[in-house]
């Protein structure tokens, strides 16, 4: 299927529309909540919780015997929450660090979940096929009902986010101050952690346990590069997430044998790489350009300072000198002289240069920041 055909089908084909909508909503909610996870330095919480959700799915199936997605996701939610709060408990009550706590919960819960899954598979009455889809996700199994459910959760999440915006923001940037203002930091903390867990659980069906953490992280990490404002970052991350969902679904639908989850993750990774390189204020490219620019300016100033040292020994400041005497001095080129001339600091006349009044004044105050900024 060609890409154009895909875009035509999005508006006509029921399945494709459902999946595209589903991944878009998922990307948006993950981007939104992921911003908080990234800023709280809990980036890998998503990875740990998505793995920790697995035993919940298996236990929910063992207890109820249904493959009803919502029931299984409820189990995932409960075991995800247990995992999240156990991580908090470990870091708070013992001297183990958060990375160890995350790794522990991740691997132990996942291993236990695998034990249960293989146990279920060997049960005689098991119609367990379909539980595997939570490992790597199958966007194709999304139903309109699931998408509605996701949309409702996203809506609730948005309302809570707007209601508690001030509190979330405060807690994010200055937890101690929040406490002294009398906010119940524990409650806010639990609220935001619970919503992150909820978003992760929602995504399990679509992108699966293993790749869920990237859904949470990548849009937020990309959005972070473009802005320093929390609200802009959250909105940008939601847009990036939704875009990654739509584009990823499009690519995977237009090719054979491409599962949706990994493609969405890779699209999101491309967003991150582009943001890392091309973001105007933080990006690597512009940082490098600024770096070179600064170095050039420095060279220019060095030449100017050298000229100033020569010029100040003369009565007449604009006494011409031979360019030759600059030759044993690094950091000057034909080009840099022209640049100095264009800035009206010196005048060139054949093989001679002379300082202008303007240039002399500038060079005299080169290392005197206050004056030079005043002159700018």
């Amino acid at each position: 299927m060609e890409l154009q055909e895909y875009f035509r089908l999005v508006f006509t084909d029921y399945t494709l529309r459902t999946i595209t909508l589903g991944t878009a909503i998922l990307g948006a909610i993950c981007g939104m909540l992921g911003s908080f996870a990234v800023l709280r330095k809990q980036s890998l919480l998503g990875d740990a919780i998505s793995h920790a959700a697995l035993p919940g799915i298996a236990i929910a199936f063992l207890i109820t015997g249904t493959k009803e997605t919502n029931v299984l996701l409820l189990g995932a939610l409960i075991s995800g929450l247990i995992g999240a709060f156990w991580i908090r408990g470990i870091t708070r009550n013992t001297h183990l660090k958060s990375d160890t706590a995350l790794g522990l919960i991740l691997s132990l819960f996942f291993g236990f979940g695998m034990l249960l899954l293989t146990f279920i598979q060997k049960q005689p009455n098991a119609n367990q096929s379909g539980l595997d889809k939570f490992l790597f996700g199958q966007a194709a199994t999304l139903l309109a009902r699931d998408v509605w459910f996701m949309a409702i959760v996203t809506g609730v999440c948005l309302i809570i986010l707007i209601l508690f915006w001030k509190e979330f923001k405060l807690l994010l940037f200055d937890a101690d101050y929040t406490k002294t203002l009398g906010f119940n930091t524990k409650f806010i903390d639990i609220l935001i952690t619970s919503f992150i867990v909820l978003a992760i659980v929602l995504g399990l069906q679509t992108v699966g346990v293993v790749l869920m953490s990237a859904m949470l992280l990548a849009p937020a990490a990309a959005a972070r590069q473009w802005t320093n404002s929390l609200s802009v970052m959250v909105i940008l991350a939601a847009i990036f997430g939704a875009l990654a969902g739509v584009v990823g679904t499009g690519i995977s639908a237009s090719q054979d044998n491409l599962s949706t989850g990994p493609v969405i993750v890779l699209v999101a990774a491309v967003f991150v790489v582009v943001s890392f390189i091309f973001s105007p204020s933080r990006g690597l490219l512009f940082r490098q350009i600024r770096f070179i620019q600064n170095r050039k300016d420095l060279q220019l100033h060095k030449t100017l300072a050298f000229m100033y040292d020569i010029a100040k020994t003369h009565e007449d400041k604009s006494h011409p000198h031979a360019i030759k005497i600059l030759n044993n001095f690094h950091g000057f080129t034909r080009k840099s002289l022209q640049k100095l001339e264009s800035k009206n600091y010196i005048e060139l006349d054949g093989q001679m240069w002379s300082m202008t009044q303007n240039g002399y004044h500038f060079a005299a105050n080169l290392y005197n920041q206050q004056l030079s900024t005043n002159n700018d």
Partner: protein, 386 residues
């Protein structure tokens, strides 16, 4: 026990030991999650290696996979050094991307790759004994035992040779650099060992169990001791214990061996987390409660010391004046009585001689913060043990 069963347990135990050694250092260096990242991102290396060799157990496969593990570490560090995101975000960005590439490579070539993502993630220890190492038709035992055995040997040799360097650089990186050990060499050395171990073990037990075997025994041991050597031996012990009991649990439940090994590790950790003598949850909670009580006791004694008037020292006054609940005042008074700090005479509390000197010492301590005078008090109280 059949010989296959013994072999499985042997492989599992060797894997557990091989993982526990680098795992201990990863946990101590706060890099536990690197093992998770490596275990996922070896996938593209494996797949590419498999395209080239078409043999799942060729050495090239292991080298390529270990290389892609190292690439992960280098990428994470590169992203981290740009300062655009924090270290944990860098880890979280790199490995899902590499893992996705691996999955897509497998999916696009599904027809000629007999490589199952499930198998990579979960491993199947039960089949390990069937893949034998045959040289000139002579059976030398299971292949994976040889692979992981040689990795373990190398790890142990490296550990013996560089134990001092590793120890210093783990606990005081600055000192290690000052003494002339290159932190970069040690860091990448450790990362290479972790990477090679992960690759060697994944075949037998799967990527997730490798993470569990690296982190869980070390974390459990860390709750029990502060001594590096003891911690190493304890984590090796926990690893082997979980390997053998995990096997029998799986045998009994007829379920995945790596899953049940992880579960045993989880149960072990939970037990230690709850009941460890000094760092366990229960002893932490008990200590907190004890300290709260003792602070109350001190407040109470200071109050008595400050007031000579009778009405301030009446037993009912406690609840009104210091505003404690009945239960708490009762336990404070009981504790003071038990230590002969106070006497109760017709509902009027007065300090005994011991109580007076204790209170004075405590005031001295609070004012001067000089703790030579309170050595004798430490016996009875948590509070002064620092």
């Amino acid at each position: 026990m059949t010989s296959a069963q013994i072999e499985i347990q042997l492989i599992a135990s060797v894997v557990a030991v091989a993982c526990a050694i680098p795992g201990t250092f990863l946990v101590l260096r706060k890099m536990a999650l690197i093992s998770d990242a490596i275990s996922h991102s070896i996938l593209p290396g494996l797949v590419i290696g498999f395209f080239i060799t078409h043999d799942l157990s060729s050495p090239l496969l292991i080298i390529l996979a270990a290389l892609s593990g190292l690439v992960t570490v280098i990428l994470v560090e590169f992203i981290q050094k740009t300062g655009l995101v924090k270290e944990d975000t860098a880890i979280g960005l790199v490995f899902p991307a590499l893992f996705s590439i691996g999955i897509i490579l497998i999916a696009k070539n599904a027809n000629d790759v007999h490589l199952d993502v499930d198998a990579v993630l979960l491993g199947e220890l039960a089949f390990a004994p069937f893949d034998r190492l045959l040289v000139d038709g002579i059976d030398f035992g299971p292949k994976s035992l040889w692979i992981i055995g040689s990795i373990l040997t190398i790890t142990v040799v490296l550990l013996m040779a560089f134990f001092k360097e590793l120890k210093v650089s783990t606990f005081d990186a600055g000192l290690a650099t000052a003494l002339g050990f290159s932190p970069a060499v040690l860091h990448y050395g450790l990362m290479s060992v972790a990477s090679v171990t992960t690759v060697g073990a994944f075949d037998a037990v799967g990527a997730i169990l490798v993470v569990a075997l690296m982190i869980a025994p070390a974390a459990t041991a860390y709750l029990l001791t502060n001594d590096l050597k003891k911690m190493l031996f304890l984590s090796i012990g926990f690893g082997v214990l979980s390997a053998i009991s995990g096997y029998w649990l799986a045998h009994w439940l007829d379920a995945s061996i790596s899953g049940s090994m992880t579960t045993v590790l989880g149960v072990l950790f939970l037990l230690v987390y709850l009941f460890a003598p000094n760092r366990g949850l229960l002893s932490v909670l008990y200590r907190n409660k004890q300290q709260r009580l003792e602070v109350s006791l001190l407040t109470f004694l200071l109050h008595l010391n400050n007031h000579s008037e009778v009405e301030e020292r009446h037993i009912n006054h406690l609840n009104e004046h210091i505003n404690w609940q009945k239960v708490r005042s009762k336990s404070v008074v009981d504790l003071a009585l038990k230590n002969n700090m106070i006497t109760i005479d017709d509902s009027i509390i007065s300090l005994t001689e011991k109580g007076t000197s204790f209170t004075n010492k405590a005031i001295d301590y609070i004012i001067t913060n000089d703790d030579t005078g309170i050595e004798s008090m430490k016996e009875d109280f948590f509070l002064f043990r620092g």
